[in-house]
Amino acid sequence: MSGTFVGMPAFPAAAHEAVNNQTLRGNLRHATHTIRAKRAKAVAEVSDWAALREAGKQIKDHTLRHLDRYLVQLEESVTAAGGTVHWAADADEANRIVTRLVKETGEPEVVKVKSMATQEIGLNEALEAEGIRAYETDLAELIVQLGKDRPSHILVPAIHRNRGEIRDIFRREMGEWGRPAPEGLTDTPAELAEAARLHLREKFLRAKVGVSGANFMVAETGTLVVVESEGNGRMCLTLPETLISVVGIEKIVPTWRDLEVFLQTLPRSSTAERMNPYTSMWTGTTDGDGPQTFHLVLLDNGRTDTLADEVGRQALRCIRCSACLNVCPVYERAGGHAYGSVYPGPIGAILSPQLRGTQSEIDASLPYASSLCGACYEVCPVAIDIPEVLVHLRERVVEGGEAVRNGNKVLLKPAKGHAAERAAMRAARWAFSHPAALRTGQRLASRSRRLHPRTLPGPGRAWSGTRDLPAVPAEPFRDWWQRTNGGKGGAK
């Protein structure tokens, strides 16, 4: 994955800046709290939620376990239905393929459905460099594109913007890209949505090439599924003559029937609706209806490296609902930009360091962007144990060890900046395996407890800057146990 935001500082530095931005914190708090209560209600409506969640998890695990077989089956099905399948090992290759396909149509512009995969590979920038303009048509993506901004949420990339900011961006920027914002535009959401409708309509009606991702690909039938709300997806999927879909290889489900699970869990988890307004399904091309040329670009870009990790591979079950972002106390305060990736929040903290590797400063810091409270695991509709993967990745950052990068086994060095942590762990290991030394140390600690500082000196200062040091008891536990015979007889 090449999508590291250039010059991105590590998470703590970026988050520090974000938590001091009062507007941002207010916007995020309002939005995440609104959706939290709604999601809980939508989930409570279905009595078999736990069974749906378990089935979703099992379907995804089964698919990943036989991913090679299902990829080949999908390729056959899509080809038989009139589509053309391309394989892209990394972002550069995917961008080259899409750019070539657009150039072959001779068109200078494309309309885009919101897609995480194309965000991840930086497709818009790659097309721009070749003189092709890509118009984002999802409302939130439009806000981000017009505001020359970065996405900060998987589902609602402009979640960090409030209605007033959106109005200002529309007034200022729409004229540069096409039809200007209506005179006297106010900040009511309905008027803002109307402004987007008018601005984008001319682009939809003249579009010859559409670019999308997909939420699901069905191996047995070759069907692709896009789940959306506004109708911009339907516009891009049906009006153009050529459709190019860029989809991560983990988006496969084996059978048509498998959709019955995810079409119930995804809308309730993401927008807290029984069903989202529009879902489009298409299988190759259909004579006389919709694009007559269809290309599917299957994207690896770090996914097979993630698959090679026995603990970390569960991140590939993700269906990008963003429920984990909405419940995360860290995301709510730090915002999406601090994660330095198109995938923010808890899922981003385990996905980005696996797709991109843990070498960069930001990626090495992401497994720490969590309090391990577990709310993300609780709401995940495919039961990804995000805290488990976070701890696993922390170990990889601190200890180094074997990992797979670009398909090759590599031996990672322990990351810099964790020397104190490693030293402390080494000391603990030594002490716990030398009982006499442990006993002496504990007694010494108890007797000297009045002299203990409230913060640690040296490299421990940062750690104790935000935490209270635990108070040492007057008597070590083992001494108490021996003195009282294990507390029998009520001795204190």
Binding site: F204, L259, L263, D300
Partner: protein
């Protein structure tokens, strides 16, 4: 080596630790939620459609033409696009000009049409969803997208199922399908739902039952 071979090779190496076959997926979830009579299922569909701001009307087959005519007149629709296989009597009581759906019509032409009238393939009560699959009374996908007003006729109770799993059972994966739950909407401004973006901003659903009283269906 092609990228196809490279990716498939990486997948196989990544899965080297995985041994043996896995069991079948446990599908302990329900085929439908709760028990309802046929009439209650239709009522639930009406309720959930309305909950997501679709406008619901109910009538018998004999009344359908008048209802469709009235809805088009109330909208002030001058031009209405019609799928090739739409029953002609559905539009027997309207003065609006009928624009047939054909392969050559451009998106711009469709943009000048006021309304569209279609049937549907199936409707899902639990989610308030109508599904179109390009059948003769539904036409090409774009005709229900570009006009701002969509009237969709659902034959009840025949076309109504309770749940998403039952709807998928009825659909043919080789046909392009569009699942519609209320009019176009967005949650992109402060994660709050607002109706009306790019798709039809007004969705009217007519639940049409046979001329005989529907109690016959239950006996």
């Amino acid at each position: 080596m092609s990228s196809r071979e490279r990716i498939l090779g990486r997948v196989r190496r990544a899965l080297a630790d995985v041994r043996g076959e896995d069991g079948p997926v446990e599908r302990a979830y329900l085929r439908e939620h709760g028990e309802r009579s046929v009439e209650e299922t239709v009522d639930l569909l009406a309720e959930n459609l309305a909950d997501y701001r679709a406008i619901v009307h109910r009538c018998t087959e004999g009344e359908l033409a008048v209802v469709v005519g009235r809805l088009l007149a109330e909208r002030g629709a001058k031009k209405v696009v019609t799928p090739a296989g739409l029953p002609v009597d559905w539009l027997a009581a309207t003065d609006a000009e009928q624009v047939p759906d054909h392969a050559e019509s451009t998106p711009d032409e469709l943009d000048r049409v006021d309304s569209v009238v279609t049937g549907c393939a199936v409707a899902v009560a639990e989610t308030g969803t109508i599904v179109l699959d390009g059948g003769p009374d539904q036409g090409r996908r774009r005709i229900t997208l570009v006009p701002d007003h969509h009237i969709c006729v659902v034959r009840v109770p025949d076309q109504v199922v309770s749940s998403v799993p039952q709807a998928l059972d009825r659909l043919d994966p080789t046909r392009p399908s569009t699942w519609i739950s209320g009019p176009s909407a967005t949650s992109d401004i402060e994660l709050d739902r607002v109706e009306g973006v790019h798709g039809p901003r007004t969705l009217e659903v007519v639940l049409v039952s046979g001329d005989r009283p529907s109690t016959a269906a239950e006996s």
